[in-house]
Amino acid sequence: MKLQSLSTKIFLTSGLILIILSLASFGILYRAQTQQAVREMDMLLESQVIALSSLVNGLPNGDFDFEMPPFFLAQYKKIKPDGFFRFMNLSGDRVIRESPNAPPVNCKNMKDGNSSSMLTDHHIFRLKTLIFRPEIDTELKNTPSFESSPICLVVGIDETPYKALIMKTLFSTIPLLITLVLILIGILLALVRRITRDLSILTRALETADFSATHEFPILPVAQTVEVKAVVEKLVGLHEQATNVYLEMWLFLGRAAHQLKTPVTAIQSTLQVLLRKERSKEELLLSLKDVESAAGLLATLTKKLISSSRISYQESPSKENIDLLTFLSEQKKMFHSLAEQYGVSLILTTSSSLTVLANPLLLSELFGNLIENAILYSPREQGAQVSISWTIEQQNAVILISDQGMGFPVQVTNALFEPFVRGDERQIPGSGLGLSIAKRSAELLGGHIRIQETSSKGSVLLVSLPMIDNK
């Protein structure tokens, strides 16, 4: 379907209705005029019938006496050029008297007193028929048992001049009608413009707005209708949301680049100093070890960034039943060497099975980051522990991860799960992404994560995960 502007569409639709209405009223007018004319013709014929029937007298021999002087018929034609009359016997085979221009109508098929129309030689005649017994001549009134014979009178009038008059009358109204229609169209146009003005202004404002050059939303005119107001409000809201997401993305990118600076600078400065002169094999080896260590940091950071980006655009991950005991035992094995390196014992304090509905990759991101954090932030002393326990609370699996680290500073606890926010800025190596990845993973799994308690002697992180699909 062809795309049209709303105002054009409203205008065309209502214009069409207007034209149909005009044509209909023209038809109704024509019909009313015709009916009026027929009524008038019938009344005229009625009076003629009465006048003409009074001019006939019955005779005893069954014949009739007409009181029509010789000039009557000539006069009749002159006065009524479009009319005629005809007297006939009832069987219709004998015309008794008729006007000079009478068409060959027959009484035979006509009923008394009826009005009807008849078509003869391109003329339509309106007819009136009367069957009657004429009065007896006054001179013969005293004749006993004398009754006049019945006679049929047909009076007609040509409809054509009437029809022509009606058409003339009707056509004379056409200029008026057109003027009226034009005025109505004008009013309609103005009305449509007025109704759609709000929307047109909004459309134009949006078309000319430059979204690329500025973060500012274009200033829109004040809405006049509820609908446009709602649309404008929604647009402003969406724009604000989009701008926020855009800014957050750039902020994240900036922070990520900032994090990358440290290992990149380390690699660059080590290599630059190394290449300044000839080096012994030992010197080369030592420097290369430094480079390797910085590259390791770079690799960890890159891996976290990839995880972070992967879970950022994931919407509805596939889920399966996973036993927490089995899963966390595997995680414990995976973190065995790191825990040993930091002198931390990683303990699962619950031994019962508990099934959660989760995505294995997201679950690994979630617990991997939390366990890694707990180990890295544990105190560097013998006997430090990271323990994991779980239980059921209101159909949710609640997992507690406790460490004996330095705790989270109170001023950042709210922001801790945001990317690149770190409890301890520099002392412990880390990307600043672990907790944000864990939080997003928990949310994607339909659960949540929070700091249950924290002090200078340790922290407890609580993870809640659904055991059945709530959706």
Partner: protein, 221 residues
């Protein structure tokens, strides 16, 4: 020339220290604000190189402490913080230079040299005394067109004598200039060092350039 480097990233600190030491700077390297303030007050450095984001605070605290005590030692801020506001804050507190990470070592080196020379109000490239010419840029010493074979420490001390001409330099001052805080030094190490330098200069034809001032130190007039 003695430099205090405050940098908590071990690999970066190690690289800078190695590079500067090889260019005959004596580098003391610490990783915290507290150690930085302590050393800056303890010794007279020729230049300070400060990182900003340190585990116990900002490198700006060291700069602030230094300027509050009216110490004019040149300072280079070397940091990953690269916004205009960061730079403005640094310069407002009295830094002489601002270098952002990742940086090119050569650039850090030339800036450190330029600032060190400025400390001694020397703005050229070549120092001359008689037939002796010392090119601070090319790091060469020539006598009558012939090049002298000096170690980087010897070059550094000769440079100090020529920059501070007619000033008596104490043994301590010379030691501070070329040895770091943790280097082992005996009492006569500087005397042995100066004698060695004198011999090299005499071999090249420059005689009695460095005079001994009894009980005080050495001077080049």
């Amino acid at each position: 020339m003695r430099i205090l480097l405050v940098e908590d990233q071990s690999l970066i600190g190690k690289a800078i220290k190695t590079g500067l030491t090889e260019e005959s700077f004596a580098v003391d390297w610490v990783t915290t604000v507290a150690d930085g303030i302590h050393l800056a007050n303890e010794f007279e450095y020729d230049t300070l190189i400060l990182d900003l984001m340190l585990p116990d605070g900002s490198g700006l605290e060291i700069l602030n402490d230094l300027r509050k005590n009216n110490c004019r030692t040149p300072v280079i801020i070397l940091t990953a913080k690269d916004t205009i506001q960061d730079k403005v804050d640094g310069f407002n507190l009295g830094t002489d230079d601002y270098l952002t990470k990742p940086f090119v070592f050569e650039e850090l080196l030339s800036r450190a040299r330029a600032l060190t020379r400025r400390k001694y109000q020397f703005y050229g490239n070549v120092l001359e005394i008689g037939l002796l010419k010392l090119d601070t840029h090319a790091r060469t010493v020539t006598c009558n067109g012939e090049q002298l074979n000096l170690t980087s420490k010897e070059f550094s001390v000769l440079e100090l004598f020529l920059i501070c001409r007619s000033q008596i330099l104490s043994r301590n001052k010379i030691a501070e200039h070329i040895y770091t805080e943790d280097a082992e030094q005996g009492s006569n190490v500087i005397d042995v060092f100066i004698n060695k330098l004198r011999r090299k200069l005499e071999l090249a034809g420059v005689k009695s350039l460095i005079e001994t001032v009894r009980g005080e130190g050495y001077v080049v007039r």
